[in-house]
Symmetry: C2
Subunit: 217 residues, 2 copies
């Protein structure tokens, strides 16, 4: 069974290629792009189980008819939102992590971007992905599978980035790339949780610096 069925695939494709409007046989379509964006923001702000379908419909500006015709279920919508979130928010973070010249700078830039969202009033919560590591989301097999895959994807990408830096001589030859990558990913998960109750950017920056320099970064 594919992650997205054909209807939802079309639904999501319209997000990726905003100008390519797919007009099926003979009907009108609501504003997909706006709908998914609004849904993502709401999930992001309130969490999965605390967000009701009716609230979602309101911000998406569609009725249950359209919703259950295209998206099929709340769970499915969440999957689409996670993917959308990955393509917009997370992508920026990854880019910073992978493209800078120095790993040390890259990792710090990564953290910086995350912390910038902390001050941004437009961003309701720190990380949708991190919030997905909860009972309500993980109890769905499909969602758990996706979340786990994405987390491991980040860990692997980070490992490769560290490996490259090690080969380039930027890091010592004893540097343990994979465990360090795992530590950072795990730490980030805690980071997103703690920052929600602490709300102190300076303190988070300081402790993160202690962690990174301790790890040899």
């Amino acid at each position: 069974m594919p992650l997205l069925d054909s209807n939802a695939r079309i639904f999501y494709r319209s997000l990726q290629f905003q100008n390519e409007i797919i007009s099926m046989s003979g009907k009108k379509q609501f504003d997909y792009d706006h709908a998914i964006d609004a849904a993502t923001r709401l999930f992001w702000a309130k969490g999965y189980s605390s967000t009701s379908v009716r609230d979602l419909l309101k911000v998406m500006k569609i009725g249950e008819g359209s919703f259950y015709n295209s998206v099929k279920s709340k769970q499915h919508l969440y999957l689409l939102c996670l993917k959308y979130y990955q393509d917009t928010v997370t992508a920026k973070r990854w880019k910073a992590l992978l493209s800078e010249s120095s790993v040390k700078k890259a990792v710090r830039r990564f953290i910086e971007i995350v912390l910038e969202d902390l001050d941004n009033p437009k961003v309701p919560n720190v990380c949708l992905m991190a919030a997905s590591l909860s009972n309500d989301v993980l109890s769905s097999h499909d969602l758990k599978k996706y979340v786990l895959a994405e987390m491991q994807g980040l860990q692997k990408a980070l490992t490769l980035r560290l490996e490259a830096a090690k080969s380039a001589g930027e890091l010592s030859s004893q540097f343990q790339t994979e465990p360090v990558a795992r530590v950072i990913v795990t730490y980030m998960q805690g980071f997103f949780r703690v920052v929600r109750v602490l709300h102190d950017r300076r303190q988070m920056e300081q402790q993160t610096e202690v962690l990174l320099s301790g790890l040899g970064l």
Copy 2:
């Protein structure tokens, strides 16, 4: 407003002094100790919002009458359970952290105890407190206040322990006790999340060792 009202205080007191049975005017009482213990386990296994009052009543072996007479609400019960959890499960971890002769050993013993619960089939989830850093719990002001206080309590205790070790010469004079304590607490939050989806004790041990030695512990 106190954290526990008089009725609930009596309720909880019976947990602490199991032999002191408080007989009010003229009535029977259900098995408080068993009730709270069972409720804690259920919350622990399923999370706050995913656990219904009816499920709780079933394992507590009481009816809604008794429940709303003594505990008042689901939220209140959760508070009692967090406290019970603190006095039983978390207390053991703290003890290991604070009582050992060497800090380095103490911290490792702390992690070890957490990981032992990972293999224990009787323990349903890794940490009730960590699971409480979620939208559903934090959206209640009272619960958030309690959870935050407990987290900061651990952080402070750990800082003091590190400070003592520093004074004793076990740690270098440049050792940054407070940031390191914060890093560990934050990391542990991520730890409890990640371990739930990874289920790999060896890997968690390895990456934790990398973190601790990196921090100079």
